[in-house]
């Protein structure tokens, strides 16, 4: 079998970026939560907020560290595997990525040190400021990287001259048509991820009866936040979808599994898209609902996939099903937070073991939903790398052979398997160790200023937690 460097490069990019994305999507939400906890402690001096802040900062340190390690890889992927694309799009992408490094990465690095180890060394207000700056850094970082990604989806403010994009209007290019909705959708997804993880871990502590007071507060806060965010995300997602309908109609057609432009298009609950035959098998749908959602009218038209030639179509089954996974999980999140409100009114929020178990499991749901959403938007853009202007095949590194691409793909999978195993193992231990005892003052002075070393928990179960020294 001939190894295809294009396919392998796409698989490799999908793998390394998905692996990397898990960490920032969590830390963006968590950074803001930690800043909020610091703010609450600053105002009320209630030690519960402080203990929660310290515990979640330890978790944050590990996750952030894994994000940093996998992020270094990302800054070289464009060049190694997509050199033609890099050369063509550098005039826009280069400044975006560089600004991300100088305005976000350095800000995060600077104030993370103060956040993790500045306790007792800097005044409390400065410590709170550090927490805010770390949170701000995560937003700035997502701003630049989503501006770059959105530009690839809906290019604007640039012209293609002699195979090179030239920026004609920086404001238009950065604030391109899909950017505002994508940014809002992504930031809310990050908050949902942080919220569901904190809710899930708090629920688990309540189930085993540890630090009940603090974890009740954490759970309550999270559920109020999620009660607003989960339905709001559905609304923002809908607007994002309408924006996609306007600028990338074929992607929306693939999401709906709709092959021919038509009115009264059903919302498909199940189907097996058959790209060869350009039709679906085993369709089950709700009549006219897709028309209603997309055009707000049962007679509204929905674009069809076959309006473009098969070579310009995305892999329909992947887009179609990833979209259903994302939306399904989104609806499940709404159901869970509404159930939480109902239990709260009955006064059983903290005691209903079944609900707490559900929350525990749901802490994984946002990660799956985010990855599914990215698969929808990225594979839905195929075969375009820069939508309508440059294909994947045009962007790949010409000198790359199938053997080289396979070598590094297998290599990254192997390396990340070890990193992931070690990280998850260690994170589990941090969570099992739980919060510091109330009166304890961690001897922060002698600890090195490093992300992971803020989590002073021994790596193996036979060792005692060293923060008790």
């Amino acid at each position: 079998m001939e190894l295809d460097p294009l396919l392998l490069s796409r698989l490799q990019f999908a793998f390394v970026v998905s692996f990397h994305a898990i960490f920032p999507v969590f830390t963006i939400g968590l950074a803001s939560y930690i800043a909020l906890l610091h703010g609450l402690f600053y105002r009320s001096a209630n030690p519960v907020w402080d203990r929660l802040a310290q515990f979640w900062t330890r978790v944050f340190a590990v996750v952030f560290g894994m994000g940093v390690v996998s992020g270094i890889v990302m800054s070289f992927q464009f060049g190694t595997n997509w050199s033609h694309f890099s050369q063509a799009a550098a005039n826009f992408l280069g400044p975006m990525l560089s600004y991300e490094v100088v305005t976000a990465f350095f800000l995060e690095a600077a104030f993370l040190g103060v956040l993790l180890f500045g306790r007792g060394k800097v005044p409390q207000g400065v410590h709170l400021f550090a927490a805010l700056m770390v949170a701000l850094g995560t937003f700035i970082s997502s701003f630049w990287i989503l501006a770059a990604n959105s530009w690839m989806q809906t290019p604007a403010g640039a012209v293609l001259v002699d195979g090179q994009f030239r920026v004609t209007d920086w404001f238009e290019a950065i604030f391109n048509p899909s950017f505002p909705w994508r940014f809002a959708h992504m930031v809310m997804a990050s908050f949902l991820t942080g919220g569901f993880v904190v809710a899930g871990v708090s629920a688990w502590y309540l189930l085993i009866g540890r630090d009940v007071e603090a974890n009740r507060r954490a759970l309550s806060m999270c559920l109020w936040l999620l009660l607003v965010l989960a339905p709001a995300q559905a609304v923002v997602g809908d607007f994002h979808g309408l924006n996609t309908l306007e600028h990338q109609p074929t992607k929306v057609a693939a999401m709906e599994g709709n092959w021919e432009r038509d009115s009264h298009v059903p919302l498909l609950l199940f189907a097996i898209p058959d790209q060869q035959a350009q039709t679906n098998r085993l369709e089950v749908g709700i009549p006219s609902l897709a028309s209603v959602i997309l055009a707000h009218d049962p007679a509204g038209e929905v674009p069809g996939i076959s309006e473009v030639s098969p070579q310009e179509q995305p892999p329909v089954w992947l887009v179609f099903w990833s979209f259903r996974v994302m939306v399904g999980l989104g609806l499940l999140m709404i159901a869970v937070v509404v159930a939480g409100l109902w239990l709260r009114r009955g006064g059983r929020l903290y005691s209903h073991r079944g609900f707490l178990q559900v929350l525990r499991v749901m802490s994984i749901a946002p990660f799956v939903a985010v990855l599914a959403g990215w698969i929808v938007t990225e594979s839905g853009r195929a075969p375009w790398l820069v939508y309508g202007m440059m294909t994947h095949a045009e962007g790949v590194t010409p000198s790359l052979t199938g053997g080289m691409a396979l070598f590094t793909l297998v290599g990254y999978v192997a390396v990340y398997a070890v990193v992931f195993w070690a990280g998850v193992y260690y994170l589990t231990r941090v969570v099992r160790e739980g919060m510091l005892p109330e009166a304890s003052e961690p001897g922060s002075a002698e600890h090195a200023k490093r992300p992971f070393s803020a989590a002073h928990v021994s790596f193996e179960s036979d060792a005692s937690p060293t923060w008790k020294e």
Partner: protein, 333 residues
């Protein structure tokens, strides 16, 4: 645009970023290379703790280098990375393993020796790959129509193996002199002992490369030998630093060996830059060929000029906070 040349300004910024990375990550990679030769486990604790607070800040310069090249000199980015595809992967894998080794070694009990190995091999592979990049840069790349057209392992030649090993020894020397500065007792005595042989190794590679390079690249030959140019001052200063280092180690001075090694690196680096300037993608492409659009260079320059001083201030502050001798029970314990 008539008043200043953006490409020259960017070449200075990128050049500054590269030497910052080499000097700063150099000594912590060097400690990893020296790791298996350390006298005991206590020394290894000291070695790791001496760089634990700063190493990830050091590596951020590498990320800036990657993104900055894409922004200012995309041709470099889109030729070097495909040409060095396998080497770049090995370097990244090395950096990942040594990075997580920092984090997990102090938490591990039974598996500690595995994290020791990950730290050593990761550092060694990353250092070798970076040295090979320098060699590949001197060799030049097969480029047609702004695209790399060579093979996967074109970069791997006897010359790049030599530069790879050379940088490993050089980083080890940086690591050893850093350790002289930051340690005491038997760890420092060991560092004093290994510094002179490492210096001899560096000078041997330095001499071999200097003799070899003019044969690899005719343009370099003519620059150095056609007329006795002022650039001969650079290798002279490098040798002066080597002599200074030798004497400082003999006299058991603590700070000077490290500073002398920094000087040795800086003047060698400037010598290399002087050999190639203004070619940035050898053999044919200059910084002006490789540049991105002036509008892009300017858009990025405004922000970078504003932020880099802040970054430098913070970095200096971090080193200040963690100044002084490192003891075995510092850091992670």
């Amino acid at each position: 645009m008539e008043f200043f040349d953006l490409s020259i300004i960017w070449a200075l910024i990128i050049g500054f970023g590269v030497i910052m990375y080499v000097l700063m990550d150099g000594f912590d990679l060097g400690l990893g290379i020296l790791y298996p030769f350390a006298p005991d486990e206590t020394s290894r604790d000291v070695m790791m703790n001496s760089v634990a607070p700063v190493w990830d800040g050091n590596e951020t310069w590498l990320v800036l280098g990657g993104a900055g090249l894409l922004g200012a000199f995309p041709l470099v980015y889109s030729v070097f990375l495909p040409a060095l595809y396998i080497g770049v992967f090995l370097m990244l894998a090395g950096l990942i393993f040594r990075g997580i080794a920092f984090e997990f070694r102090f938490k591990a009990r039974r598996s500690r020796r595995w994290w020791n190995r990950a730290f050593c091999w990761g550092s060694a592979v990353a250092a070798f790959a970076q040295g090979a990049v320098v060699g590949a840069y001197i060799q030049g790349f097969a480029v047609e129509d702004f695209t790399y057209v060579g093979g996967a392992l074109d970069w791997l030649t006897p010359f790049t193996v030599l530069t790879g090993l050379g940088l490993m020894i050089g980083y080890a020397l940086l690591g050893a002199t850093w350790l002289i500065l930051k340690s005491e007792g038997h760890v420092q005595a060991w560092a004093y002992r290994i510094a002179p042989p490492l210096l001899v190794g560096v000078l041997a590679v330095f001499a071999t490369i200097s003799v070899w390079t003019p044969f690899v690249d005719g343009a370099v030959r003519s620059r150095w030998f056609d007329h006795l140019a002022v650039i001969w001052v650079l290798p002279a200063l490098a040798l002066g630093c080597a002599l200074w280092l030798w004497r400082a180690v003999r006299r058991r001075q603590e700070g000077q060996p490290f500073v002398a090694t920094l000087g040795l690196f800086i003047f060698t680096y400037l010598g290399l830059v002087a050999s190639k300037w203004p070619v940035i993608v050898p053999p044919d492409h200059t910084i002006w060929d490789a540049a991105s659009a002036p509008g892009s260079q300017l858009f990025l320059l405004i922000g970078v000029l504003f932020v880099i001083p802040i970054v430098l201030a913070y970095t200096a502050w971090t080193y200040w906070v963690f100044r002084g001798k490192v003891r075995p029970d510092d850091g992670y314990h």
